[in-house]
């Protein structure tokens, strides 16, 4: 500024930096700093377990999304009772004729004993429905948890106290019992007794109830994080420059909260998958004609003595999915928060 030479040098440097940033888009910015997110991604890429579980999880989501397409290519649907239509498939006791649950070139995973539905498409659609419910619940729980947790933590005082007590109650609440006890009551109010419960209503109420009972843990976690962050000097620095509370929350606090949010969300999704399957198994939530992981396991428990294969497919896939997702959650945590590594 004072001497002309350094300024000229600066201009050149500025141009250099600009050239660099335009030449190397996002991937190779040698002159730029490595963001915490980028470093986490590099750490994650080095984590073998994490990468493998990520591929497994992605595979599950892909087949869930593409279920109708796969079913179309495969040429069957989960509702047709093939065993009833074709008498050569099931014997007089309802068990598949062929060994291993009737696995054949036509029915890759065999056919269901009794009704004779196709296990492969039934499982595909089951995964699709289960993941849809779990993913929607996770999303809602995370959004609600973020909103409530940050509000309570940032405002503090009476709001914080009130929210804290609500969280305490929710965390102490036996949610499964609640669901089993109140499900019929709610349905009897919403649906006339002479009609069948529409599937969309079941799904919506499942998601709603799981969300209403599930946001508390993430909200509590974020509240604590915000309480710690709010006293940090960079927040005070933002206040001194005149930031609005909204700007402080979205620009200063939230970027520092993505780590716990992501970790919580990846660990919550498999929990919701199992919770939903558990409810379906117990007879609340989705019921038989609708394909679902839990419905399938419930059906399998009826017939496992004559045909263990039918139980095997939903059980094994669910175990693989939940383990992979939990390992992924661990890896995500290790990558984002290296200090917590065991």
């Amino acid at each position: 500024m004072t001497i002309p030479t350094p300024q000229a040098a600066t201009v050149v440097e500025v141009e250099d930096a600009k050239l660099q940033s335009t030449a190397g888009p996002s991937t190779s910015k040698a002159g730029d700093g490595r963001s915490p997110g980028k470093m986490a991604w590099l750490r994650f890429k080095r984590d073998r377990t994490g990468m493998i579980s990520a591929y497994v999880v992605i595979f599950f989501f892909v087949i869930a999304v593409c279920a109708p397409l796969i079913a179309k290519l495969y040429g069957k649907d989960p509702y047709t009772t093939y065993g009833q239509n074709d008498t050569s498939l099931l014997d007089e006791f309802g068990s598949p004729m062929l060994p291993n649950g009737g696995i054949s070139g036509d029915f890759w995973f065999g056919i269901e004993p009794g009704l004779g539905r196709d296990v492969f498409t039934f499982l595909l659609y089951g995964i699709r429905n289960s993941l849809l419910i779990a993913a929607a619940t996770t999303l809602l729980v995370t959004v609600l948890g973020i909103a409530i947790g940050i509000t309570a933590g940032y405002l503090g005082g009476k709001t914080d106290y009130l929210v804290g007590r609500v969280i305490d109650i929710l965390l102490a609440f036996p949610s499964t019992l609640f669901f089993i006890a109140f499900w019929p009551v709610v349905l009897s109010i919403l649906v006339p007794p002479d009609e069948n419960t529409p599937v969309w209503l079941t799904v919506v109420s499942l998601i709603t109830v799981m969300t209403a009972l599930g946001w508390a843990s993430i909200a509590r976690l974020l509240r604590g994080e915000v309480l710690a962050l709010r006293e940090r000097e960079f927040v005070e620095a933002a206040k001194v420059t005149g930031s609005s509370p909204a700007r402080i929350i979205f620009k200063e606090l939230l970027p520092n909260l993505w780590t716990p949010i992501l970790i919580q969300a990846t660990l919550a999704l498999p929990a919701f998958v199992t919770a939903e399957a558990g409810l379906a198994f117990l007879g609340v939530g989705l019921t038989d004609p609708t394909p679902d992981w839990g419905v399938m396991i419930q059906r399998g428990s009826d017939v496992y003595q004559s045909d263990i294969t039918f139980m095997l497919f939903p059980g094994v896939t669910m175990v693989i999915f939940v383990i992979a997702f939990n390992l992924l959650g661990d890896s995500v945590r290790d990558a984002l928060d290296p200090k917590t590594k065991r």
Binding site: G31, S35, E236, T241, G242
Partner: protein, 361 residues
């Protein structure tokens, strides 16, 4: 300096933090009297040092002036405008003129934002569009504080403590402030880096004419940096004076004790100063002593000190603008006012007392 209208004028500034207790209904059961009735002013372009030991309310004072905390009582006026209880919107025009540098360079920068974003943010918030664009201005600021402008897209974790503090300084400068509250800006840094940062601040003060409220516990740095110095003890200012007056002629016993504790970098031949070791701890600000707050540790304390709080006034023998809050001020250029029993009981203390710290350091 004293002839001008003050840039910042603080009178009777008080902050009491309530202590909540009781069950089941929580109510205020007491108060931490962190800051209790401060009066001082900062002139334009001046640097006022605020020293005192840990917990005496220095940082609280800084946060009150930047309005991070709400004062319990008293007034803060900036250029004659009362900003004591101004809301965020009312403060907006003043915000850009009063900025702050923080103590911990590791906590004062958002780890998720690039340096460029951190320094641009104040301009965005206050809607300042410098000629040539904000990015160019940020690069210029980075250069001003002695950083490479190419560091624009780097993240805070890629810098050392000293460099981070420079980023903090650049952020404070982004709004072209008239007053910077520096809350122990160098106490978290290595000694070798401290000098760099202090020199940078001094350069800014001289070149840009920024007034500073320099909060520190290091007397040597305050002496290097500030034209005027205020000494705080337990939420009150006990002495305020020009630098030479305060360091050369301390009138309050506490100031003397503080000054005597500054380590000397002198060779063996020069006689060591007498060191005053204060006994006991700082009393709790929840329940401060009556009268003079320093009396519990003062070797001169009498009944009068317990009953009457000494006002902050110019005492006999002091120069203009040298205010002391003591009933029994130290004698000008006093030498042997300290009884032996209260001084260091052992150690390499020499009897030859020199009460002229200006010769040292």
């Amino acid at each position: 300096m004293s002839s001008k209208d003050p840039l910042l004028d603080v009178s009777g500034l008080t902050k009491h933090f309530p202590i909540k207790g009781g069950f089941p209904i929580r109510r205020t059961v007491g108060a931490v009297q962190a800051v209790d009735g401060l009066d001082f002013s900062v002139a334009e372009g001046e640097s006022l040092g605020l020293v005192g030991e840990s917990g005496c309310g220095k940082s609280t004072t800084g946060r009150l002036i930047t309005r991070l905390l709400e004062p319990t009582a008293g007034t803060i006026s900036y250029r004659g405008q009362d900003i004591t209880h101004a809301s965020r919107k009312q403060l907006a025009p003043v915000r850009s003129e009063i900025q702050m540098i923080f103590q911990d360079p590791y906590a004062s920068l958002n780890p998720r934002q690039t340096v460029g974003k951190i320094i641009t943010a104040p301009m965005e918030i206050n809607d300042i569009n410098p000629a040539g664009g904000r990015e160019a201005r940020v690069r210029e600021l980075l250069e001003t504080v002695g950083l490479n402008p190419e560091h624009y897209n780097r993240f805070p974790h890629e810098f050392s403590g000293g460099q981070r503090q420079r980023i903090g300084v650049a952020r404070a400068l982004a709004l072209e402030p008239k007053l910077i509250v520096a809350d122990e800006p160098v106490s978290a840094l290595d000694v070798s880096i401290q000098a760099q940062v202090v020199n940078l601040l001094q350069k800014l003060q001289k070149e840009l004419g920024i007034a500073f409220l320099f909060i520190a516990h290091d007397l040597a740095i305050v002496r290097h940096f500030s034209q005027r110095v205020a000494v705080m003890y337990l939420g009150k200012i006990v002495e305020i004076a020009d630098r030479e007056d305060l360091y050369g002629n301390p009138r309050h016993p506490y100031t003397r004790a503080l000054l005597s504790a500054v380590p000397e970098a002198t060779a063996d031949e020069t006689p060591a100063r007498e060191r005053i070791l204060l006994t006991g701890d700082v009393p709790s600000p929840v329940n401060p002593p009556s009268g003079c707050r320093f009396r519990t540790r003062c070797w001169k304390a009498t009944d009068k000190c317990a009953s009457e709080a000494p006002p902050l006034v110019r005492v006999e023998g002091s120069r203009e603008g040298h205010l002391t809050a003591c009933h029994y001020p130290e004698v000008t250029q006093s030498v042997a006012a300290v009884p032996k029993a209260r001084t260091a009981p052992s150690g390499p203390k020499l009897d030859k007392n020199t009460e002229d710290p200006t010769a040292g350091a």
